[in-house]
Amino acid sequence: MRFESITIKNFRNFEDISICLTNKNILFGMNDVGKTNFLYALRFVFDKDIRKQNFNDTDYYKRKVDEPIEIIIAIDISDTEDENSQKLRAKLKGALLSEQDTVYIKVKAIYDEKEMMGIPILYWGGDLEELEEMKVHGTYFEIDYVFNVIYIDAYVDMYALFKRNANALLVNDKEQDKDILENIHKTCKDLNAQISGLSGIKAFEEKIAPEYKKYRHEEVSVSVKSEIAVKGLYSNIVPYIKHDAEEFLYPTSGEGRKKLLVYAIFDLLSKEEEEKKINLFLIEEPENHLHRSMQIALSHILFNDDKYQYLFMTTHSPYVLTEMDQVNLIRIYNADKISSKSVLYTVPDKFKSQRKMLNRGLVEAIFADKVLLVEGPSENVLFGKVLSEINPFYEADGIYILPVGGFGFRPYFEILDALQIANVIKTDNDLRKIKGEEKYSVLGFLRINNYIGQAILPDSPVDEAGVEAKRNLYDTNRDKLDQIREKHSLYLSRCSLEEDLDEAIHEQLIEYLPNAEGDPIGYLQDAKNNHMVELVEKLTTEDCKNIYEHYNFVCLKEVMS
């Protein structure tokens, strides 16, 4: 069973959007763009407790109550052997005909002016044009026998959750429990007898009754008891955490611990349902209260544990996405009205083993509005410095510099393009010797042709390498390269970072890098990162402006525009 898509019409801040889905879906975007509302759209389909609240007029997009709310989810069940496909099919009955592999589940609510609400009606079937109305028993629709929604709020109260589910979590129905429970009951009575024996308690009880009677004259007495004897055993027990090596019990007071325990409790609860139903996890911002390392640990579970097979999660945290793979990234953003873009992100096979490394930059970039993709750490250090001199808040304004390293640009810009996150690429004008020949292939040109998908730049090998050859090559094709900058936001270095920088601020390089002994380019290229850091520390605002304004670094201007 695989989620295919969702369409939301006239619901809250969604006028009419359709988004592709898969089984693991991550929703991200700025605050207040509708991530929670998106989860609500799902809950109105799958969660009977939400559905029975009906729709208010404010649930209608801009209160347009003359149009119905419609939420349609498409699910592929062509895998007939899959148990979850079977769970769904077993309830669909004749709503799904032969040759139909996609199930549409639709909630529709026409606003009723008299009742002042929209009552959700559910439909399903294999033909979107001829869906069958879903049977309903009380507040249970057929679908409620198929799906079990586990909604985990960003601020779920662990104690409340534990208490609410204590009866399901703590089943003491074995024969030997009877005696123990009887004993506990007796002990509680003893406890209360002991408590009443304390002089302070006695004194309080004696003093408080007359005070009470001043306000209201009743024949009452006040007694102080332990809650456990009054409200029952389960009212008074809470989970404690004990480190295996230590004797002490730690109250689960830290918000982080509580959060982890919340996830553990939900795990247990979901296991109960797993046999008969399909568990659907809807998780809001799980990063809250969790330390970075805990977020990374959580990421490992979310993306590796079978339990979270069907996941819809909102997040603002790149760490939660550290291990992402086979995941649908859904970016919700606000241009004039709410829009969204989504992309199925799969770690390419060749990078499977380096998934975390590949993801590290990407997970940061997808939270940005504009991304400058650069070759490596030197560019990152230099450009970061320049941009922060131009605008100290550039990162807060949604600009992010992503060094692609050995992964190349493609895995990154494809995802960013698909999510409509503007991105600018700055790459080197590389030449590489062809084996066995005295010729050099024009690697930088080929790369650009490849990214554009069109052979705009000449691709035949050249006879010479070296700085001058590169500059020559660039200058001969400058018109085309300028057009490519304009049209595709692809910026080729004339040579590489160091030579290009030298063209912009040669004098300063000589001055700031005394150890370079007059060869700043060689020096910078020698121990790339360290020497670049050494340089950046000395760059002045004036220098940064010069770099920013230089033809070789127009990419910076574009990313800031």
């Binding site: 079977q86 099919r89 004749g94």
Partner: protein, 511 residues
């Protein structure tokens, strides 16, 4: 409590066929097995428990100790209709068959094509003129074979199918169930007893049951230990059929089975001295007319017997049948309340207050109509309530219901358990048991297999005493005598070895 063989049946996985002689605890074993299988099934899948009558389905539901809401427990026709025909007919025959169908087996057709056309034109699922052919199951199998969606649906939903009283299946049902078992590979459990096949006249095909007995992919078990009847009654019935003949175990006391030779005029005084007035007794006759006459004669003779007739609503086979039955019970049985009525509504959520209030209102109006002898008003109210509950009534059915309620003679039919002595047809005695049974051997000539099976069913209703009346000079009785002697002869036995023969013509007891 389960006997060793019953326990073995309960725990046996996979396809299984069980031959269960009368009184061997068949229903108890089947219910235990269903519960066992459900508790050991860790997935969303459910079972279908399929019976021949609504009564049998309700009995299974009542006996189940676990929540059965998602499982299918119902009659074979409702399984074919609700799980195959209604949902998937459109998948095979086209969108014009996406109609709200109702069943009316009194509507008859000659051919498959006519039956299909009737669904399109009148939204009625009907039956064939030829009672040995089964339109519902021919249609269901036709759809099942052609609809991939239907096949996948059944496979996705069911992990096992249980069919009760398999000997009563006709050929079309058998083909249908075997398709599910063999082609869809859904585990199948069938239980039955070819000796108890009393419906061959309307197409039942006990050979189907024996056909499964021969199949390799089915495990086989035989329940022969009768827990109902005393040893002598068991002996007598076991001797009737080849496969149980070896269970014969001689007993000293032959007082439990009596063969009373009497005349048409003195059979009552000949029988009465042998009856224990404190124990329940049933007179079983082949025809309703003879049952009624028999009850009258016994009552005149000093022992009250109540004739339980077939009610006018007993033959109704439409979907609304349960409504007529429930309304009748409400007015006939003092303890039957509006809540009992509600509990009979198929697929209704328990505790729906609005429905209860509505039914209450309608029933009080019906009460007024009965008092005022207003048949039309009565029919109109019943039709209205049926419509409210999503069913359709027919005028003549409503009139039959009115007759059932207003004519006191039909009332005993709703209270068979509460009567000490009754007279009924042996067909309606199936599945019942009585301390004492009186039967007339002239009802069973034993010249056909069907006849022997009928006789087997009648004799095995008795727990402690079986009284057989032999009317002298009756041609049918003579035939019986000839055939029973041949049957007993196969075990080298005579009637006097297995029964106490009482000669009331010549006033002496032959030992």
């Amino acid at each position: 409590m389960l006997s060793p063989i019953q326990k073995q049946i309960v725990e046996q996985p996979g396809n299984l066929i069980v031959r269960a002689s009368a009184g061997t605890g068949k229903t108890h074993t089947m219910v235990s097995k269903i519960v066992y299988d459900i508790e050991n099934q860790h997935s969303h899948k459910v079972v279908a428990a399929i019976t021949f009558t609504i009564k049998a389905a309700n009995e299974i539901k009542e006996r189940m100790t676990i929540d059965t809401a998602n499982h299918f427990i119902g009659t074979n026709n409702s399984f074919a209709i609700e799980e195959v025909i209604k949902p998937f007919m459109k998948d095979v025959f086209g969108k014009e068959y996406k109609v709200d169908m109702s069943t009316d087996y009194s509507a008859k057709v000659n051919s498959f094509a006519e039956g299909v056309a009737k669904i399109k034109d009148e939204q009625i699922l009907c039956s064939y003129f030829d009672s040995k052919e089964n339109f519902i199951f021919q249609l269901a199998l036709n759809i099942l074979k052609k609809s991939k969606a239907c096949q996948l649906y059944l496979q996705a939903k069911y992990f096992k199918i249980y069919v009760d009283e398999y000997q009563d299946c006709d050929k079309d049902m058998h083909d249908f169930f075997m398709y599910i078992s063999e082609i869809l590979k859904i585990d199948t459990f069938v239980v039955g007893d070819e000796k108890q096949s009393i419906y061959m006249w309307r197409g039942a095909y006990p050979q189907a049951f024996m056909d499964i007995w021969e199949r390799q992919e089915f495990s086989k078990m035989f329940m022969r230990d009768n827990f109902r009847s005393c040893q002598q009654v068991q002996n007598y019935s076991n001797l009737l059929c080849n496969e149980t003949r070896d269970l014969y175990s001689p007993v000293e006391d032959l007082s439990a089975v009596l063969m009373i030779c009497a005349s048409g005029t003195n059979w009552v005084p000949s029988v009465i001295p042998h009856l224990d007035p404190d124990k329940k007794c049933a007179l079983l006759r082949y025809s309703n007319a003879n049952a009624e006459i028999g009850a009258k004669e016994l009552s005149v003779g000093g022992v009250e017997f109540t004739y339980v007739p077939q009610t006018p609503i007993a033959d109704i086979t439409t979907e609304a049948a349960w409504i007529y039955n429930a309304v009748a019970k409400y007015f006939v049985l003092p303890k039957y309340s509006v809540y009992d009525f509600r509990d009979e509504i198929p697929n209704e959520v328990v505790g729906n207050k609005r429905v209860v209030n509505y039914i209450k209102k309608v029933l009080s109006v019906l009460d007024e109509c009965i008092k005022a002898e207003d048949v039309d008003g009565f029919s109109k109210q019943v039709a209205e309530m049926a419509e409210y509950l999503g069913y359709e009534t027919k005028d003549d059915h409503c009139e039959s219901l009115y007759k059932t309620i207003s004519d006191k003679r039909f009332h005993p039919a709703f209270n068979v358990d509460g009567l000490q002595r009754i007279a009924i047809t042996f067909h309606s005695s199936k599945g019942l048991e009585f301390d004492q049974v009186i039967l007339f051997v002239s009802d069973y000539r034993l010249s056909s297999v069907q006849d022997i099976y009928n006789y087997y069913v009648a004799t095995t209703r008795a727990k402690t005493k079986l009284i057989m009346v032999y009317i002298n000079n009756d041609w049918n009785a003579t035939q019986f005598a000839k055939n029973i002697n041949n049957i007993l002869d196969k075990s080298d036995l005579k009637m006097s070895d297995v029964a106490t023969v009482v000669d009331c013509i010549h006033k002496k007891v032959v030992c």
